[in-house]
Symmetry: C2
Subunit: 284 residues, 2 copies
Amino acid sequence: MAGPLIRIEDAADPRIAEFRDIRERDLTGRQGRFIAEGTVVLRVLSQVHAASTNANPQTPSARFVAEKLLLLENRVDGLEDLLAAFPEEVPVYVARSALLDAIAGFPLHRGVLALGRREAQPENHTFLGCLPETALVVAACGISNHDNIGGIFRNAAALGADAVLLDETCCDPLYRKALRVSVGGVMKVPYRRGNAIEANLAALAEAGFSILALSPAGRSEIGDVAASGRVALVLGTEGEGLSPSVLQRFDTARIAQSPSMDSLNVGVAGGIALYTLARKLGRI
Amino acid sequence: MAGPLIRIEDAADPRIAEFRDIRERDLTGRQGRFIAEGTVVLRVLSQVHAASTNANPQTPSARFVAEKLLLLENRVDGLEDLLAAFPEEVPVYVARSALLDAIAGFPLHRGVLALGRREAQPENHTFLGCLPETALVVAACGISNHDNIGGIFRNAAALGADAVLLDETCCDPLYRKALRVSVGGVMKVPYRRGNAIEANLAALAEAGFSILALSPAGRSEIGDVAASGRVALVLGTEGEGLSPSVLQRFDTARIAQSPSMDSLNVGVAGGIALYTLARKLGRI
């Protein structure tokens, strides 16, 4: 059970400083800290917190720790189960509605927030080396839209992907909205963010992954691709897509589409491709 | 080419009354009229406008007509191609940025708007009767989120669906945001909105459609379903899903998923199912 409820009476209280002006904070560097919002995402945080605390320190998957909670006072009564899922060293602050809105800087209808921390991620070599012999990884390039990043993680979690590699031009999946759209998937699927896409693909190739880039101009239809062992699916942006050098250097696949339409949303296209590969690999 | 540019100097000008307070208008009955926003959606409107004008009046697919355009003055120079795609009887109003924002009631960064009209839709019997012998229809129930409705139409257009049937509890796909998310797909795929889901499914069955309801508890995996002839895919909401009576009465399919995750987003799940069925039916 999380710690006792601590009532906050002043928006300037230093104990809840990390929750002040949440939207401003979304735009600045956060050194691994993030705001989780809503009961569904907090439930996932409680699960990964417990798993992180008990994890073997030699395993490479990211660890997430809940540092504190901030709740709307009149929502506490319905949240006993959720609070019971956090250990007692996690303090639980509560505030009245007007004060909570003043802290956050906008009306917070959900009224359920946590401050989380993600521990440092290992390098690609370590990260990829620990994946199983049959593995499915999503490698994303240039996805800067929070909805799309969140959608990619929701798909990855639901369709059995083992990991996600984001290049340095992807947005941070720990942004509040991306985390919410992912339904907590960002905390479930191990991921690494950094490097240029070329470096990430080179690391995947070195770790024995077959690399398949998804593009409307792909040379094979995704359903016809043979997949076994370690497979990485590469996703680019909807507009510019993947660079010609990536498309020339690696195998490419398309999703069959009606000729009248430009292309599917990257979340849907990625979902179709991931589903198809995950079925071929026996991951789902 | 659309008509000559007409400069608007007054937010109260009756010629652009339909563009005033767009967000308020989104919430009220609109008698078939809708606001289209952005160059991509307006491009689709110009195409369906032309096709509607030339269409055989006996064909059942919905017709869309552009009634007027309203553009940010300093965007006109880059839009010659788009304006050329509308006929001259469509008036083009232009306004300065501050005035345009005052008309719309919020900052309109895109600055490209059209008032469109959708002509009355035929009854289910006529609507479905005109579809081809091999056809794929999406029947949606209770989808009230504009992003999800837009996503369903984008998928339907991209993956070769012949029509969409929305029950009366789905939101109007002509809402500005749904239309935008659909990338104009709402105007490309013939659709009908109305009736309870049971009536729509009965009309589909009567028109010779095999009915397949998508549900996390579906009895077959979607990849294993045999599909031929006329097939209707039924989609419900993410939360409550389809009613037990629908799930008991018709064939059901699930998308294989990792056991740790509740379910995919309805747009992604629908996209995977639609892709799988469209491939089996040779629609894409």
